[in-house]
Amino acid sequence: MYVPRNLKGGWTDEARQQMQERVIETIAQYAPGIRDQIVHSEFLTPADLEREYRVTGGHWHHTEFAMDQMLMMRPTYEAAQYSTPIPGLFLCAAGCHPGGDITGAAGHNAAQEILR
């Protein structure tokens, strides 16, 4: 938890290595033998998520779960309820109500809106 998108000094190989090491160290405190069992590891920063999946800011809910961005205000009140100010353009992803976490609900609700 709490990995910044814009790391001071940038996500250099050294910084990645350091962060990854720290994560393994934390887990190793509770699972002492884990180091020997590692076959492969991958460390994705929010910057990587943004580059690979085009999620702005590397935010995996597309936009924060803050009260001001929920329900009929998600992602913003002008573009809530899956329709946007541009007729024919719809949103169907985690940036819509009810947000991310692989529920399928946003896509389902958007399809319903489109068919209506």
Binding site: A66, M67, D68, Q69, M72, M73, Y77
Partner: protein
């Protein structure tokens, strides 16, 4: 002669206001104060010979004009002089000056960012509209949203109508605004970090939230909905210090025949058959009255003054969960001359106004991080003002008094209770910060008076030193202040009332809590109302 019509506990400005309105309605009132001075946090103390410090609260804006006028406080000696200007110090050499003159203010902002200079008009218009909505709810008792009594339904309709009048887009903006952080809210308007830091300061004052914590934008609004002589959002200084507010209300109280008893600490509230019947003082005296009003916060009232057995089940848990985290400190400094600040032109409008040592949003957030760990920051956010620049009564001729409000300051340190060493170091951190922008500052110091949240609890009875008698977070506002079901100034025991800042609309020296409680008490007694209605400027 220890029988009265009403007993009010605590002569803070709300207790004074409450007692004054009860007395004005013809009740025989006694107001009990444990200290040998009145005002609670709105007091003036001569802690150093010749200097009169507003030891705690130091500026005034939220005092309602309707009360000011109705109690004729001007005749009782109250004069509020508006701030001239302000200067905000950035982390480096950057300075941002605030002017009352609109053109000067615009030009100054343009110097930092032409975009922000234009955005400021939009920002102020929006904020004023939001403030207008909340201002209308101030001098009204919050409705109970779960009740079907006609009065509650009417009040809910009134609030609904005000909200509806804002229009659809505004309603959305308003709901968003209520829950956002001050930093997010300001990011929507401005790009200059110093400007954002300067504006965000109002969002964290007295609150255990950071500029990036949700809910801090409401606190920002709470601090701009006041006015000085009808100039909305303006702040001013009472001549003679904050004690002048309390003294003037005490004048009104006495004029209406109320009695003020000093050094009268209440030990216990007497309850018989779930009805309050009076109080016992620490010296053993017993006072009786069919109405008992507490101006103390809920923790002091329920846990200290009342017996657990006299209270209904569940109240204790509500009190224990009530958030009173203290977060502010105060450093009062006596100076032998007016300090000079680097990068500030010799212009009396800005030199004689307030100084904000805000730095940047990041500096402020980092100061909050220190507070969470039970420390103060070595780079604290300090809001200062030198009242003696335009009030000759608070310092000897030619000398000055500087009031420094510090955010954040923990009620208890990670090392335990505050010691006098800790206090000195905390004061030094503040002095060092100021001296960074005023090289000769340390040579001017004649006396330093440090007040931590711990002192606020010990001297003026604010639990954990919370300056609002409980945080102004959305879960503790309106019909939830202080707890759901008890937001209409009546306590769970009959004949007993609350009138402090822990009730709607909260702290800030507005005198509204005391006035609203008086209106409810008079209603229960079936007496004519002596409390005025608020002024609405936009209608």
């Amino acid at each position: 002669m220890n029988k009265y019509d009403a007993i009010v506990i605590g002569a803070g400005h709300n207790g004074l206001t409450n007692a004054a309105y009860l007395a004005k309605a013809g009740l025989d009132v006694v107001l009990l104060e444990k200290n040998d001075f009145i005002g609670g946090a709105s007091c003036t103390q001569e802690s150093h010979k010749g200097w009169k410090y507003s030891s705690y609260s130091y500026v005034c804006s939220m005092m309602r004009q309707a009360i000011h006028r109705d109690l004729d406080l001007a005749r009782h000696g109250l004069l509020i002089v508006p701030y001239l200007g302000t200067v905000n110090f950035g982390d480096g050499d950057e300075r941002l000056f605030g002017y009352h003159n609109e053109e000067a203010a615009h030009l100054e902002l343009k110097r930092h960012s032409p975009h922000d200079a234009d955005a400021m008009h939009r920002f102020q218009a929006d904020l004023t509209r939001y403030a207008q909505f909340i201002r209308k709810t101030l001098m009204r008792t919050p409705p109970d949203p779960t009740s079907f009594r006609p009065r509650d339904i009417m009040e809910l309709l009134f609030m609904g109508k005000q909200l509806w009048n804002l229009g659809e887009k505004e309603i959305y903006e308003y709901v968003r605004f209520f829950t956002m952080s001050a930093a997010d809210f300001l990011d929507g308007y401005f790009e200059s970090d110093l400007l954002k830091a300067a504006m965000a300061s109002a969002g964290i004052i007295g609150t255990a939230l950071g500029v990036k914590s949700p809910g801090s934008s409401y606190i920002l609004l709470h601090h701009v909905m006041g006015d000085v002589d009808g100039s909305i959002g303006a702040w001013g200084l009472p001549r003679g210090g904050m004690g002048a507010i309390s003294e003037s209300i005490a004048g009104a109280l006495q004029e209406h025949g109320g009695e003020l008893r000093m050094n009268a600490s209440v030990q216990k509230v007497l309850v018989e058959n779930r009805k309050a019947i009076g109080v016992v003082l620490e010296n053993g005296d017993e006072l009786r009255a069919p109405v008992v009003v507490s101006n103390l916060d809920p923790v002091q009232t329920f846990m200290r003054l009342m017996d657990k057995n006299d209270l209904p089940d569940g109240i204790y848990r509500k009190v224990a969960n009530y958030k009173t985290r203290g977060s502010s400190g105060k450093v009062n400094i006596a100076l032998s001359a007016m300090p000079k600040f680097t990068g500030v032109p010799d212009n009396r409008y800005i030199c004689q106004g307030g100084q904000g040592f805000s730095g940047s949003l990041e500096t402020m957030e980092r100061a909050y991080d220190c507070w969470k760990r039970g420390r103060w920051s070595d780079d604290p956010f300090v809001e200062s003002v030198i009242p003696s620049a335009w009030d000759p009564t608070v310092a000897p001729p030619g000398k000055h008094w500087m009031s420094n409000f510090v955010q954040y300051c923990p009620p208890e340190l990670d090392t335990g209770t505050w010691t006098s060493d800790d206090r000195d170091q905390f004061g030094q951190a503040v002095i060092d910060k100021i001296a960074r922008y005023s090289p000769g500052f340390k040579d001017l110091i004649e006396h330093v008076d440090v007040r931590t949240p711990y002192d606020m609890q010990e001297e003026i009875g604010l639990t954990e030193g919370n300056i609002f008698q409980g945080e102004l977070t959305i879960d503790q506002l309106l019909f939830n202040r202080p707890f759901p079901g008890y937001a209409q100034y009546r306590m769970p025991v009959k004949n007993m009332y609350m009138c402090g800042s822990a009730t709607h609309p909260g702290g800030g020296v507005s005198a509204v809590c005391g006035a609203n409680a008086a209106r409810e008490i008079l209603m229960d007694l079936r007496k004519p109302n002596s409390v005025p209605e608020d002024d609405f400027y936009d209608e």
